[in-house]
């Protein structure tokens, strides 16, 4: 069975190509996803559905798809994996959106059950503005 580090590394190899499928697959349905920050994006998203609907959709309404993240460093210790990555993206209005991320993942049974994301929140607000829920398609 692959290690937690190998599972996360494989998912983010796909993220570097703009394919989030493995990343979403490795999230537990009841994941606790915290985006650290005292702003409209910063909160705890409880469950994969809330992550996709309340974080993913507002994010992708501002960022030109596909969202790409390249791993710069990964370390693992027991049930935890820490991943540093660099985004290489543009907003839908054409501005560069090259943020950096550090994610702390708590793994169980090959799935992420808790994830805490640290990112440059100042850049998030400057480039993406406040989190706004887009209307249903």
């Amino acid at each position: 069975m692959p290690s937690n580090k190998e599972i996360v590394a494989a998912a983010f190899e796909k993220m570097a190509e703009g394919d989030p499928s493995l990343y979403l697959d490795m999230m537990a349905d009841d994941i606790r996803y915290e985006l650290v920050g005292d702003n409209s994006w910063g909160r705890i998203y409880t469950g994969k559905q809330a992550f996709r609907e309340e974080l993913g959709r507002p994010l992708m309404s501002r960022v030109e798809p596909p969202l790409k993240m390249r791993v710069t460093r990964i370390l693992a210790d027991g049930d935890h994996v820490i991943l540093e990555s660099a985004g290489e993206n543009r907003t839908r209005s054409g501005e560069p959106y090259n943020n950096r991320y550090c994610m702390i993942m708590h793994m169980a049974g090959g799935k992420i059950v808790e994830l805490t994301e640290y990112t440059d929140t100042d850049l998030v607000l400057r480039r993406l503005g406040d989190r706004v829920q887009p209307p249903e398609a």
């Binding site: 650290v36 920050g37 005292d38 702003n39 910063g42 460093r73 370390l75 693992a76 210790d77 935890h80 820490i82 540093e84 950096r100 550090c102 702390i104 805490t116 640290y118 990112t119 440059d120 929140t121 100042d122 850049l123 998030v124 607000l125 400057r126």
Partner: protein
Amino acid sequence: MTTQETNTRIAKRFFECFDAQDLDGALALLADDAQFRVPGKPSESPSAGPYDKKRLRRLFERILQNIPDGVRMTFKSVIAEGDLVALEMEGLGKLSNGRVYNNEYVILFVIRDALIREVREYNDTLHAYNVWHAA
């Protein structure tokens, strides 16, 4: 003691010294050519970017001049592998102008031969900007 345990002690000691306003003690743990990266875009946030040891001392001195009682650093989690240590922390301090700096951090250290070689900090940069730089 394993390498990870030794490295974890060094990483924690760095912030224990900072908490105690012992800058000499903190900086003695850094290699002479160590680099410390403060998060954010240097083009958009005055404090962001890479710091060498000399410049880091000036940054820490400026922080402590503005927070006379110091910044209380609380450890929340430690994750270590090989020469890497990640500390998750919360910092709390009150500036002379009355603003409260209460940030959350994950800080990654590269430690070799009992010296810190590289530090990469992640925090709520918007909170930092609003407390330290906003009008």
